[in-house]
């Protein structure tokens, strides 16, 4: 029975990984076909790097992921502090439920709703709303916020409240107390929130699909447009590179020991 269950487990894992392995393997296939493997080659990778759109998309993705996760981290950490200290149960409850809406809602609804907001805003005179980096930044910051708050808020709750009082008694100003006592205590939560935000932003396709413009493409949007009609083997190469990057990131996170944070209670995937 035990042996059987192990076989089952490995079969499921094998099926889970098989397509990705095929993709990575055939990205090295010079022939550009799935029918035969004509030898190891980096041809499709060179092809990919010759494509200026791909490189721009990569740059856009990184700029967007860094800026949206940083903004969300600052706003979200402050929000977690505020929520932790609010005495009104009503305020606390309503703020957390509103924050969690983008996490509960399907991505497509979040994307569509933001698109409609920007469409409406663009029709207001004197409001210079144009689809592109700004709308993407707003959207990505918005869907990052709940994850940041969710990873920072428990740190505030776990923190020994007496430390804060001690610091205040010993003559620290509230601001100094925050930076000297509270910030170090919540820092692991902030770091993991920042990383979750960064990866979510890098990965997002559905919401970006609705709020971007053709002149601001991110990597997932580029992949989407490239795979719309035919199979492109340079896309295999790009996908393989992204898989390697994620693998490296995940290993780095695990070795750094930033573990055990709640990513999400419940929520939007994809």
């Amino acid at each position: 029975m035990k042996k059987l269950s192990h076989v089952y487990m490995w079969v499921v894992f094998a099926l889970l990984y098989a397509p990705i392995l095929v993709l990575v393997l055939f990205s090295f296939n010079r022939a550009g076909s799935l029918n035969h493997f004509s030898g190891f080659s980096l041809y499709w990778y060179r092809e990919l790097f010759r494509d200026a759109t791909a490189l721009t998309a990569l740059r856009n993705s990184l700029v967007l992921a860094v800026s949206s996760s940083l903004i969300a981290t600052v706003i979200g950490t402050l929000a977690a502090l505020g929520i932790d200290r609010t005495r009104s149960k009503f305020l606390k409850g309503s703020l957390t439920s509103v924050t969690n809406i983008p996490m509960m809602n399907p991505d497509i609804v979040t994307g569509v709703s933001m698109m409609l907001l920007f469409v409406a805003a663009a029709s207001v005179p004197f409001l210079p709303v144009r689809f592109g980096f700004t709308t993407m930044l707003i959207a990505h910051t918005t869907f990052n916020l709940p994850y940041i708050i969710l990873s920072v808020l428990p740190r505030f709750r776990q923190m020994d409240k007496h430390l804060r009082e001690a610091a205040l008694d010993l003559g620290c100003t509230p601001a100094k107390t925050f930076f000297k006592v509270e910030l170090p205590a919540i820092l692991p939560g902030i770091v993991s929130g920042l990383m979750i935000g960064f990866t979510l932003s890098l990965d997002d396709f559905v919401i970006s699909h609705f709020v971007s413009s053709p002149d601001f493409q991110t990597l997932p949007l580029y992949v989407y447009n490239q795979t719309a009609h035919e199979i492109k083997y340079s896309m295999y190469a790009l996908c393989a590179l992204m898989v390697f990057a994620i693998l490296a990131l995940l290993l780095a996170v695990n070795f750094a020991g930033a573990k055990g944070e709640k990513k999400q209670k419940n929520g939007g995937a994809a």
Binding site: P19, I20, G82, L95, I108, V223, L247, L250
Partner: protein
């Protein structure tokens, strides 16, 4: 300690403003567009027109339900098996389980297509064995398979999390009281892992019912799901309103079902670990 500092008092203000502007206001615009025509006049037409989309709603719900059921059937035993391993191996396998979740859905779907497509790996394998090609991409099976493949980890992880939190002494108690392992599974493990199951079902059902990339790629354009329909409406300004109406109905359906499901589970159980 009684007086809150300036920082504490106003720390949540930027977020509150942000949430009102970019979470609540957009949803209000969905409602506004759903109840107006292209000229901004109030109308119920979009909502009444939804009846012609009934078959799409039914099809999407069926696909999502089937995919969720398959994920549960495959995923529950898997989570159970992982939770019975030694802590070190558990940790390793959880990383294995999470890795696909971090890989873009586009890439995973696309890689599945590389295998299942007409000129894909599976078919060229069949041809080289002297067998006939089978048409997979473009069938409803392929779409459901895509959903299962893409979202299976989202089912396994929350179930595993709630199982790993389970106090091992319950097993001993059950054994002491005369339960065999099968009975323990049904009377101890299953009820106590229910919050994880609920969370897993939500995490598979919601993206399955709203997907459009999977149905576009693996359905070969022959299946119109809610996601596809919404996506199409927003390509053209004149159909924004009907698109908003469909989105609104889908959102309400999902929020209701999530709320109903959450009644079955404890508030802070069944979370997911990163």
């Amino acid at each position: 300690m009684n007086k809150r500092s300036f920082l504490e008092r106003f720390a949540a203000v930027p977020h509150t403003v942000w949430a009102v502007l970019f979470i609540l206001a957009p949803l209000l615009f969905v409602v506004y567009f759903a109840f107006t025509d292209t000229y901004g006049n109030f109308t119920f037409d979009n909502i009444t027109m939804l009846s012609s989309y009934t078959h799409i709603f039914v099809l999407s719900i069926c696909f999502a339900l089937i995919a969720t059921a398959i994920c549960l059937i495959i995923g529950y035993p898997l989570a159970y098996i992982i939770s019975q391993l030694s802590p070190r191996r558990q940790k390793l396998l959880v990383v294995f389980l999470m890795l696909p979740m971090w890989i873009s859905l586009l890439i995973r779907t696309y890689s599945l297509m590389a295998i299942l497509d007409n000129g894909g790996l599976l078919n060229s394998l069949l041809v080289s064995l002297g067998l006939d090609k089978i048409k997979i991409v473009g069938t409803s099976g392929a779409v459901i398979l895509g959903m299962v493949y893409d979202f299976l980890p989202y089912m396994v992880l929350p179930i595993y999390t709630s199982m790993s939190k389970l106090d091992k002494r319950y097993y001993e108690a059950a054994a002491d009281l005369g339960c065999n392992s099968l009975k323990t599974l049904f009377r101890v493990t299953l009820p106590l892992s229910l919050p994880g199951v609920i969370s897993g079902i939500t995490m598979v059902f919601v993206p399955s019912i709203s997907t459009f990339y999977i149905s576009q790629k693996l359905g070969g354009g022959s299946f119109d799901l809610i996601g596809d329909t919404i996506e199409r409406q927003f390509k053209n300004v004149s159909t924004y309103n009907i698109g908003a109406a469909i989105s609104l109905v889908m959102m309400i359906l999902i929020l209701i079902s999530v709320a109903v499901m959450n009644r079955f589970s404890d508030e802070d159980e069944g979370g997911m670990i990163v």
